[in-house]
């Protein structure tokens, strides 16, 4: 996959993706937004890009019409480079649960301009996944969510799973796993402005 420095993108894309900008994700908690992206030429390209044996790129970038128009309908698409790390963790998770893991629409990467991004989350960094179903099990009960949360957490201390519940920061109809605000800089690219 071709890597691009977000600072070299068109003004329209920069305005929506805001590469390298600081974003306040919580009071007094600032993080830089991703700057380096994979360039996706077409939807076919995304479907054919196998990040791991069981996850294609397309599965981790599917969004609905609440995404900004330019990013939804226009190609190329730009996806933060950390998406490959997320895919590797999801592959490990799939191996542990030994069943297909279905990442929801809007449940992988979504841009800072997506209408569901009113409250910033690691989805903007392409390091989070919302999982609605594992095998034949719908993750819409406390029992199912907590069972798979324990398995996800066992993958390592770098995995965060939102607790079960209806409040902000909790989930009650899917499993949210994320790796925090991980930034990936591919070899050969400078982080100097």
């Amino acid at each position: 996959m071709k890597v691009v420095d977000g600072l070299t993108l068109s003004a329209g894309h920069r305005g929506l993706l805001r590469p390298g900008e600081f974003l306040e994700v919580a009071p007094h908690e600032l993080h830089r937004l991703p700057r380096f992206f994979y360039e996706i030429e077409s939807w076919q390209h995304a479907k054919e890009t196998q990040l791991t044996p069981h996850f294609t790129l397309s599965e981790l970038i599917t969004v609905d019409c609440r995404e900004a128009d330019l990013l939804l309908h226009g190609f190329p698409h730009y996806v933060p480079c950390a998406v490959t790390v997320l895919a590797r963790y999801l592959e490990d998770f799939r191996e542990r649960v030994d069943a297909p893991v279905c990442v929801a629409v809007n449940g992988g990467y979504r841009s800072p301009a997506h209408r569901l991004t009113e409250k910033p989350s690691p989805h903007i960094w392409a390091t989070a996944a919302n999982i609605y179903r594992i095998g034949d099990t719908w993750l819409d009960s406390q029992k199912a969510i907590e069972r798979y949360a324990r398995i996800a957490e066992s993958l390592g201390p770098d995995i965060y799973v939102r607790p079960y519940g209806p409040a902000p920061g909790e989930t009650d109809d899917h499993l949210h796993v994320d790796l925090g605000y991980l930034l990936c800089t591919p070899r050969g690219y400078s982080e100097a402005q």
């Binding site: 609905d64 019409c65 609440r66 929801a104 629409v105 449940g107 609605y132 899917h174």
Partner: protein
């Protein structure tokens, strides 16, 4: 049948059926005649409000705010307008299971609009209404000059129901909505045709169409809760322009076969129109 006979017939049916109120409004495109029997009385709208959501969706599409082919994430989790608590549409109480099977995935807006009308999918309705917002639906009705339909919330918001925060309608309001499907005030002909095709595909046909001749075609939407049984639509008869009719009934819970009352009123309206 003359107008007074129709009023008398509706009153007799209302009394004999155990209904507490029957509201009827008719507009005949052939003669431009209007008939109203408690046509301005407000009722709980039940699922007839889905016609307003359909009209708002096509208005959003027609004004290029959205595309009907745009995809929306299917998620069964909504917030009550009463206290922001979370509620879900019960799968076993929803007349349509197909949308529930798509949870976690996405569907095109038009793919949600169809089951919202034809099988009265509550999940599809709530998804579309959450996306469009009740304010947009209401502003569409305002632009269309449709009074008598108030959409404030989605379906199965039981906390709001208990607090009396309901979608409401009058028979005249619903007829106003269906007139939009014939008049060219808001929508061009191809758009009206597309909405009518969805309403013609209605699968619940035990009320307005059931006692009409086989030659009648009805584009309509039913609505039922424990205390209300409604149907509203556009009736097309061979050799004449259609008429729009809304029949709204209110009754005690558990009333036996309230749909029959609506069907009988529909038959009387047909006889009045074709007399």
């Amino acid at each position: 049948m003359d107008e007074q006979a129709l009023h008398d017939g509706i009153d007799r049916l209302c009394a004999g059926s155990g209904s507490t109120a029957v509201g009827v409004h008719v507009f005949d495109f052939e003669t431009e005649r209007t008939f109203s029997h408690l046509g301005d009385r407000w009722f709980h709208a039940a699922s007839t409000m889905k016609v307003a959501v359909l009209v708002a969706l096509f208005h959003a599409s027609n004004t290029r705010r959205v595309g009907l082919e745009d995809r929306l994430h299917v998620r069964n989790r909504f917030r009550s307008i009463a206290d922001r608590s979370i509620f879900r549409v019960q799968r076993d109480r929803d007349a349509d299971a197909a949308v529930h099977r798509r949870v976690g995935r996405s569907m095109k807006l038009i793919e949600l609009a169809e089951p919202m009308i034809t099988r009265s999918s509550n999940l599809a309705t709530n998804l579309l209404l959450e996306f469009l917002t009740p304010d947009f639906v209401q502003s569409t009705l305002h632009v269309a000059k449709v009074d008598g339909v108030r959409v404030v919330r989605g379906v199965e918001d039981n906390v709001a129901f208990e607090r009396g925060m309901n979608n409401t309608t009058t028979a005249a309001g619903l007829v106003g909505l269906f007139r939009l499907l014939r008049d060219d005030d808001l929508f061009p002909e191809p758009v009206r045709r597309q909405m009518l095709d969805i309403l013609f595909a209605q699968e619940f046909n035990s009320m307005i169409p059931s006692l009409l001749p086989d030659s009648a075609q009805v584009a309509h939407k039913t609505g039922e809760i424990s205390t209300c049984t409604h149907d509203a639509g556009l009736v097309l008869l061979p050799g004449r322009r259609p008429y729009a009719v809304a029949i709204l009934t209110e009754h005690p819970p558990g009333l036996d076969d309230p749909q029959k009352t609506v069907a009988k009123v529909s038959r009387m309206v047909y006889e009045f129109i074709t007399a």
